[in-house]
Amino acid sequence: MISKYQLIWQLMHGQRLRYGAAVAALVLGSCFLYLVPLVSSVVLDVIISDNGSGTSPFILRTVESIGGRDFARANLWIAVALIFGLTAFAGLFTYLRGRWAAEATERIIRGLRDRLYDQLQHLPCSYYDRAETGDLIQRCTSDVETVRQFLLNQVVEIGRAALMLLVPLPLMYAIDPRMTGVSLILIPPIVGFSVVFFRKVRHRFEEVDKAEGRLTSTLQENLTGIRVVRAFARQEYEIRKFGARNGNHRDLDYRLYRLLATFWSTSDFLCMAQIALVVFTGGVWLASGSLSVGSFFFFLSVVNMFIWPVRMMGRILTELGKATVAIGRIQEILGHERESTPIVANTTITPPDQRGEIVFDRVTFSHRDGTCALQDVSFRVAPGSTLALLGPSGSGKSTVVNLLLRLYDHAKGSIQIDGHNIANLDRKAVRRRISVVMQEPFLYSKSVRANLMLGHPTATHEEIATASASACVHDTIMEFEGGYETVVGERGITLSGGQRQRVALARALLKEPLILVLDDALSAVDSETESLILAALKSRRGRHTTIVIAHRLSTLMHADEILVFDRGRIIQRGTHNSLKEEAGLYARIWKMQTENI
């Protein structure tokens, strides 16, 4: 895995020159900016003030070079034009700096977002078993925003603070070494105080963040569980609970305000004190004649220009710390290995071969934590036939599906589709042949039609309606106000579990797959509708090989073969008629499910 800094460097690829140009503009801009008070000081000294004593030799030489005192006095407008011109120049560079930094940053961030999204789609499913959605989203949104701020503002601000301090030094020294010293006396304590303070109070910021997190999750739980709250009439209790979190957050937040009040007032005081030092030391030297009015003005202006950015250093450095943490968190996603691509070059099943035969040959698969999900599982499904899987939750049925889809890579044994070991096939080629309907199917927040067309982008309306009718969902869809154009999900209507399952089934059928997998896919569909769907599926028999997983035997009993799973092994196999006579799990479940009839 590459380091955080390498990652930033890598992300900046293609934008490095632009970013460099932004830095160069920053340097040039601040150089021009400091020339402005110099012009004013020359004017004050040489042209207006009669008191020539104390004028820096540097300034005198400057004046001589432009044509002498009298020429300058007669043409005061030149100074004004210079001030305006220099500022405009500095402004131009400020603009360029802002523009280039923004262009570079926004391009980098767009690239980063796209890369994250792409990465998320290509991470193996095993990654998602351990990750939390909320956390991943936070990394992709707030952490990316932190990096954006870092590139757009903080790098520039730190650079600006440093340059503002360093650029005028030679000029200051040339004009008056003593005043240079006086102007800088309090800078180390100001920077030091700011850096130390923000380092010390960092955990206070984190405490407030945590308190806010607790507040938010209490709120979220209350709102998602609002029916439970009402059902037990626990409103008062919930209000007290939320009130406690709310109060805790307020108290911590207020404490932070107090701390910040101390910081800003102290650092303001220090900065003002630095200015006061310049004013009064300068005043004394001005009175004694060893400093000119122009130089006095110059130093005062320069201190005013660099002291405010310098004071922000501590805060920016803390933010910088946050940015490195954010980059680290993003790096964890980007650095994770993607689903591998096949080693063998021959990666597609050619059409004449496509029959839909599935063979599992002594397949063993273990979870990451070492528990065995499948052990020594072998079976064959003939093209066009139906295989059913039954067993308690966690017995390995879904693992069979996941391995077949190459969502996970199996450890031992081989899985073959039409004689090809799928480990040697392109994952996507395998998945294109299979349609799967899951127990909790996912629909995109698009129109029903767009969702249905996922697997068959060129489907005609007739094809869509036929598939929907087979899945017993066509009438339901037509009852929606927008029909097939109705948007589902957050931005549209909410479908019930059974409706979602039926839409997903229609989507799978429309794909016209070689292999159809129903992973407990009709669990939320009521029994009457289910029998209609099963009848429709029966009439399609032979068009695809089918694997069905279910708990209801009514769903399974017509399969050509039924496998009963327990703890990762096949413990029984046969047809419905043979299994119900055989002592074992199947007969037991058969009894439970029919005894009530």
């Binding site: 603009y95 709120l219 609002i226 059902a231 939750s393 996912f442 029998s531």
Partner: protein, 592 residues
Amino acid sequence: MTYQEDDDVQSAGLNAALWRPMLAYARPYWRSFVGLGLAGMAVALCDVLLPRVTGVVIDSAVSGAGRIGLYGAFYAGLILLLAFMVWLFIVMAGVTATGVAYDLRRLAFGRLQQLSFSFYDHRPVGWLMARVTTDCDRISSVLPWTLLDAVWGSFLLSGITAMMLWMNWKLALIILSIVPPLSIATAIYQRRLIHTQRLARKTNSKITAGFNEGIAGVRTTKAFVREEENLREFQTLTTEMFDYSLRNSLQAAVYLPIVMSLGAAGVGLALWRGGLLAFTGNLALGDLFVFMQYAGLFHIPIQEMAQRFTGLQAAQASAERLQSLLDTEPEIRDGRVSDDPGERIREIVFDNVSFEYKQGGPVLTDVNIRIGRGESVALVGETGSGKSTIVKLLCRFYEPTQGRILIDGVDYRNLRLHWLQSSLGMVLQEPHLFSGTIRENIRYGRLDATDDEVESVARQVGAAAFIDSLPARYDTEVGESGNRLSTGQKQLITLARALLADPQILVLDEATSSVDTETERGIQKGIDVVLKGRISVIIAHRLSTIRAADRILVIDHGRILEEGKHAELLAKRGPYAHLYEEQFRSQLTVRA
């Protein structure tokens, strides 16, 4: 997780009527607000005086008048005062911002606890959360800072203006000529900024939703090999975001140099005109100096105030949404309240009850049901037939649009809502637990239950076996919404919770089979225990539950088609018999 920004309601300009109620929420903190205003004035005063003192120092130094020590003491006093005032206004802003945020959240949360379910129906949780979090934050922080900057900025501007006019009005007017262009440039910039910021914020929430969908739908994406197309769609969003962000930055990049140049023009004018005056002896050197300092200072308060104004406008949408939440009256409230009925409820009667949602046609028509104590009624019918609506009306989550629901002969609209809901227990299809331990979750049924009672109900519903197998037993953390437990385990805990509450009326929305048969049987036993001796209404899916019920109501299109016991209904060969046969036809054909 998506906190939708709903900026559509936002209009240009400020709406005073909208802020009036918000100011009312700030009233308890009026002392702090006054302190804030005073501190703002004091800071402005110091800001005006400090350059003036510097000018005086120069003059006295040049003329050799001495007294620099005296001015030094005055200057030191001013910066001490300034520092103290800075401390004061941050603390005062803290008092008001955190206080108002606390109060607004408390009010909003309290209101959410009262509002009827019809309110929740069309609002996603994320949207509601944003009202209590983001909106409250924005309003509470915008109030003190806007006030402070308004006071400080206007005092500083008028202070500088007055001081300059007093010192030399002609020169002052020349310098003041930069104020109009400065104000115009700032106004244009802020107006554009608020527009693009809004666009960027909208796109940003789309990006968040995009990531959310990408993650939640990753298996579907893989199964349908949608990676490339999804990325392409996502890229249109990131490109949109790129455009808006860049536009935002470019506006700032243009605005900043304009302000700088205008400031420099002011300083240049001061130097030029003032220089000529000073040269002829009509202006003290120190005064020239003060003018130059003031000219360079002008743009700061203008910028700050404009920024706050923009902030206020952005917060206006928040204020509008929050206020509409606080103004929403719960549709269901206690009417003319009679006394609570006796200890035990004898019967519940649906008397010609009809119901329709505000949008859409009738859901229930002329429903008559009578349920006595100790009786259980199973509701059977297709999805959308009206089963759940009957339950929602019984719980008074909604009230009938026609007809009455009587509890022991009294229309329940005349009973206390709290009394009804405390007599009610509910076990829902999707078991919901709160984060915390198993013990805490069971105890939610009755808060003063002892540990023994908690464990006893767990045993009765058959949850004890799996709880005892966990290392921390009853102190096991269930995780966010209970996601560390399986669905079956969660269902057992919700049953224990309902039993502990010992409700007189029990509503059970039976889960469709998503658990394996043996677990299901365990849950069934738990349900039997919980139902005993109550008025129970069950939305039934399992045949065993239906058969065990005292009465079955067959619901179709909002009407009761048939009513009776399992055997009676079968014998009638009506809709129930048809439904029953449909459900199990496949099994029956195998047997034949």
